[in-house]
Symmetry: none
Subunit: 233 residues, 4 copies
């Protein structure tokens, strides 16, 4: 504050652009780094490229991040969804049906995470978990655990309310989770996930998955006896 007073207006104006940039430097670097790490992986990404994409020099990057590894960790931390507190509250206050809740959940997840750049973090962690055990553990704790738990609570609530069938919830959660993960991965590594013969519309994809899942978890159905046989190996 006092500094502001000392810097004469002219000088202030002069430095305005630079200062605004300065403050946003780390953010620009993180964004560039996220893009490149997701695209090429940690090892195959050169810091110079990150710097170039952020419009600064190599040296500047090291001004903000002491090492490439620190940059990587910052990227993960920065993009880790901190939505769970909010989502848990939403869950706690939710009055609708389980179907509504599950649907809301998948759609929100897509809208808030999947559709954003942050979705790349999933692919990144998948690739680099082995190389960065500590950051992987952090990710699991901050994202995987809460996510899995939230879904589980939703399903539990559904069971308790008699809306959902009796299922082994530890496994059932993945009926919700896996389609969303696939969607995120397909976004960043299409060739490894989906045929290029058909185009994927995320909204329709989610709707389609929901239809099947919700149907499949719902209470009523009765006559599917044939199923049980095959599940035994």
């Amino acid at each position: 504050m006092s500094l502001v007073k000392l810097t004469c207006p002219i000088k202030k104006a002069f430095h305005a652009k630079r200062e605004r940039r300065k403050e946003s430097r780390p953010g620009e670097l993180l964004e560039a780094a996220l893009d490149l790490f997701v695209e090429k992986g940690f090892a195959a990404t050169r810091v110079e490229e990150v710097a170039a994409r952020a419009g600064v020099s190599k040296g500047t990057l090291f001004l903000y991040f002491p090492s490439k590894e620190d940059l990587f960790k910052a990227v993960v931390r920065e993009n880790i969804s901190s939505h769970f507190k909010e989502w848990n509250q939403t869950f706690d206050n939710f009055k609708g049906t389980s179907a509504e809740m599950i649907s809301l959940c998948m759609n929100e997840w897509w809208r808030r995470v999947g559709a954003t750049k942050a979705s790349g973090i999933k692919k990144l962690m998948l690739s680099e978990a082995g190389n960065f055990p500590d950051i992987a553990a952090f990710y699991r704790q901050e994202v995987v655990e809460p996510g899995q738990l939230l879904i589980r609570r939703i399903l539990q609530r559904g069971k308790d309310r008699g809306e959902l069938r009796d299922m082994d919830l530890d496994y059932a959660v993945f009926s919700i989770i896996s389609p969303v993960i696939l969607l995120m991965l397909a976004k960043h590594s299409a060739a490894a996930c989906v045929s290029d013969q058909v185009s994927m519309d995320p909204e329709k994809y989610i709707a389609s998955q929901l239809q099947i899942i919700l149907y499949g978890m719902s209470q009523a159905p009765l006559q599917n006896k044939s199923l049980k046989k095959e599940t035994k190996e």
Copy 2:
């Protein structure tokens, strides 16, 4: 001529060890490379490490694979499932219900691919597709396309036979595919996929997924009207 007679069994045995080794070298190297590439990614894996794990020296690796990149491509090619011809035949001759068929499909996939080391290829392609567009295209063509197509044919048959509901099959296939992919990824990057609070048994996981999916795709159910509402964004 007489020489032929002279080559006594002992001499044959002489060459045996070395030759057997020679023939198995590429395989040993490919196996070691698969492990390491899957674990650490292409760039972070050192060829010397691959060689060491295969029990040979750095130079030997280059005797069989002209470059690290060629090694990578060989690893992918080697581990790409050539099961589709067989699976398509199985499908063509199949007499059972769709539920049986889908169940068979998931279980077979897991048993033949997911549970083997080849499952690592999925993770590998996810990570490296961007860095190896040509091999990614090859993978898509040899694995992704046929897999997606096979599932689609199974679902189509189910629809035609009146066993499965009317669904957009281009999307429905992912209800089968995504749980299996998640299972394969979880196997190689657990931290990025699943909570460590609960242990995952693949058989139970698949059974659990099947139960929901088959339920969800089956014809009969009726009273799930609430669903449709929510699918709208």
Copy 3:
């Protein structure tokens, strides 16, 4: 010898080809090595290539030459002209004019050395003298010195006989030597020596050089009719 008696005739016939080859192996290797060393230089030549060109395996080469460097030295030694004794005798007995002698000298040199593969040694020594001081010293002593000396003696004789002008013979020798060296070099590195616009015929080249040199060295430059005779091979 005794071995020969023990080997029955049949076996002998059987081994005949192989044995003949065996004896010529070193020669074949030396020839292949000369070619390649001259073409690409010592360092850029791979022993495997030498072996392959000689039709044997890499290991066999090391059976005859303990190291690449030894092979190199053998190549040089093998191809070093041992003509000087003979040539000195020819000189001692020579009865003709200096012009005839010089002409004979250049033509012989070309015919016996320049036109053969051994000519490559000059280029080889030029390139590798710095890397192999000992072999270079050997070459200088065995080839350069005697050659220079022989020419000098020829010129001295000419001076003494009043056929050649009074010249500083230490330098005059190079009027004979340099054109021949150029011819040898041009043979192995055309691009570095001569335009490709005009084709060089060695015989004409030498005749042409002789004409100028002899003229230039002659006492009363008039009666040099003898020249033309010698230039014809």
Copy 4:
């Protein structure tokens, strides 16, 4: 704007040293590389050695030259005589005798090329022409062709003016060229070219060669008094 005023001389001096170094780096590297390539050949020269001789680290070399091969090509290009335009002009304007012209030519060549480091390029091309066909072609086109052509024009003029005898000029040029080439080669690979019994003084060597050549090429080989004058530098 005001900034311009602010850049005080001190700041300018600030960058001076490093910038001057930066600008001179390629030159220093090229010089070191020329030395070493000429001395040891391309393959036997280690880039680290070049860097060390230029007083920088290995990495710095690659900052200026993308590869060892590019360094080599740059060395050749850098040292290729661009004197021919000037020399051709000199020739066009020349008023003196052919003897004077030839004498000037050899002496200039020596002074401007032979006596400098650039003379090493001849040896380098001789050794590496086979390994670098494209740069050899470039060298032939930029040096060999123009040189040979210039000499030819000089001789043609001499013939036309009745000063030189009727000779096959395609071959006669080498009477001028070969002594100079020998001199250049002797400078860099003495052991391969000249006896160490006698010391060679380039000036005397050229004078000596000129004496013979000019004599040898002259029309009525009697009145060549002019020669002696020119041989003096």
